[in-house]
Symmetry: C2
Subunit: 386 residues, 2 copies
């Protein structure tokens, strides 16, 4: 069974684009990744594309064929994968498995979302679709509300504070400030977060990731092809995926993300590494509480201690385990279907030593953690440089 | 690399259900397939689910987690695949590749759509999303119109007649009459088709497949597991997928479906069989012209001769190469995301000798052909019994 490596990465700057289209974003990220890999069209065997809900955002489904078409690759197999905000992570995983199956040698995994074109109605339906329509969305439980419930429970059980959550946003804005592809380049303070307007108590505006347009793409290759095209392969050494109940109220616990724990366990086992071996991680901080839940689920600290770990600065750029060096969803932006791939772009740049002002010294092993909905889907990938 | 077999099949009756929900349809088909396979929950490693646009039809995305959740399998990896009306066929292919990659041993591939709950606005946006939003849908080119263009061109180039197209509908209603799971149980005549109201000239109401609710599921297993659970495995011996330009006007030809030709070629090569080896085929007859294009693309006759082949009765239940023994999309119904899996259900029943009144004698090798949009995605699978 072949090993699989990332041999090229590309992404658009994340932001609010009135002048760029869904397909334009795909082209831009796709072409950047293909050029970075040094492959040409004829080398590429297939595309997997993550996109959450282009039907509701831009009235376009069947985006797999669009991706092949608008990158000049019509003819090759092209497949869209969807799992809400984990769509990108699952596209990466399908691309990885397809190479392991020996079906393909070189595969592009992409992710894209154009969120700012939608009407308010469509945008609310679109994002609420990640939850349980019958038991949550229909009754008005939107995502800030669901994560607020998790935050409240975490505060109750473990004494996590609003200031600790705010510290996640402060850290991620600090990192985003150093990332030219990030949506926000504004440093913020705990006071800024605490004083920002309430969205769903205890979550405030600056606890929430933004609405974003953007795309990201990576080129994956089998061991043989990777060695042909690059001397800086970033190997995928572990891939884990898991699911949980769609509705929050059916979970065993509101203060723990079991799909992430399970996906992490599977990825760690395949990679034969432990949480303490991870040098950098990109985790799914759609809300600040989500990053705290993530670092606990991934074993960077004990369950319940994520707030304290953040407060101590251990997840900061120069901390023990830098988390979201890219700025994360909070500051880099969160074009939902693109996020899982953009996380892999950041880890690849770090492991290639090309992360510029946010470079973590001697980063050798990186991890991505991509979540769908309030935690019903999770994909964890572990990467290693040569 | 392991072989992969279908070891269980299940589907709901296709139709218009006011009393059943999207998730209810999933449960019904899933549980039938699991029971048919004789596996229990703990044996199942993953789910791949095809659904075209549940966001627009029932305001629910993230349906992969829903599938695992509502079949009692939360925890396992669950992935939704979308490629418009080829979503089911691609879910089947991803499930197949995932077993070949050695990641899983037993995988459920499902497909579902609940189309009749949508508002007219949502339904039009939903189905048009399979075409090119910027160049087709936005300007009013809905699917009957796009297929009408193909029909016109085929008539011009090859002398195909409206009566020959009508014959496709007559045949498929004949077969659907024998299928208890079909939406329509009404025999029709060429005259009925010719006298039905015009939808997009030359296509009339009875040239078009209906709006349908329904779900289908199959259980796939590695060779080792297949032998453990069944003595009637249906082996997948070939799987091919291809893409074409999303918009019709960018194609090399309007009277030929190149993605189907390419996907067929790839599947035939893997299976090491020729078109003349195929005993039965389920093809994507979303419109009657689509079946003619399909049987030509798959090599059952020369390009341009599909109308004549149909007229001669060679694709009828007792013809040389029975096509759409299930009734096809035309009479069995076309819940878009479920269709690709329902095609595999029919072929599996035929190859197991369990197709009752529509059983084709000595059927050993069967084929499915599942198309997305006006042909921008195609998946072809070839199956063989033991």
């Amino acid at each position: 069974m072949t090993k699989v490596a990332i041999i090229g990465v590309g992404m658009t700057k994340f932001g609010e684009y009135w002048e760029k289209s869904y397909r334009g974003l795909i082209q831009e990220a796709g072409v950047k990744a293909i050029r970075d890999a040094g492959v040409s069209g004829k080398d590429i065997n297939a595309i997997y594309g993550g996109s959450m809900t282009p039907g509701l955002f831009v009235e376009q489904e069947h985006t797999s064929a669009l991706m092949a078409d608008y990158t000049g690759l019509s003819g090759i197999p092209a497949t869209r994968v969807e799992a809400a905000c984990a769509s990108g992570g699952l596209a990466l995983r399908e691309a990885y498995l397809s190479i392991k199956s020996s079906e393909y040698d070189v595969v592009v995994a992409g992710g894209v979302e154009k969120m700012t074109d939608a009407s308010t109605y469509s945008a609310i339906v679109a994002l609420s679709g990640a939850g349980d329509q019958e038991w949550e969305s229909f009754h008005g439980a939107t995502f800030p509300a669901l994560y607020a419930l998790m935050a409240r429970r975490h505060m109750l059980e473990y004494g996590t504070t609003e200031e600790q959550m705010a510290q996640v946003a402060v850290k991620n804005h600090h990192n985003g400030f150093l990332n030219p592809n990030a949506q926000f380049h504004s440093k913020i303070t705990v006071k800024d977060v605490m004083n920002s307007g309430s969205v769903a108590t205890p979550l405030k505006l600056l606890d929430c990731s933004p609405i974003t347009d953007g795309a990201a793409a990576i080129v994956l290759a089998s061991e043989k092809k990777a060695k042909e095209f690059t001397d800086k392969p970033v190997w995928i050494i572990g891939s884990g995926q898991a699911s949980d109940t769609l509705a929050l109220h059916d979970r065993k616990s509101l203060s723990r993300t079991d799909a992430a724990i399970l996906a992490g366990k599977r990825a760690y086992e395949e990679a034969k590494v432990k949480p303490s071996d991870i040098d950098i991680a990109e985790v799914h901080d759609c809300f600040t509480i989500a990053e705290i839940l993530a670092i606990e689920a991934l074993g960077f600290c004990k369950i319940g201690e994520g707030g304290k770990l953040t407060e101590k600065g251990e997840t900061a750029l120069k901390g023990r385990i830098p988390v979201n060096t890219s700025g994360g969803l909070k500051a880099k932006g969160h074009p939902v279907g693109a996020t899982g791939i953009a996380q892999a772009v950041e880890v690849a740049l770090q492991l290639r030593g090309e992360a510029d002002k946010r470079q973590v010294k001697n980063a050798k092993i990186g991890l991505t953690h991509n979540v769908g909905g309030s935690g019903a889907t999770c994909a964890v990938h572990i990467f290693k440089n040569d």
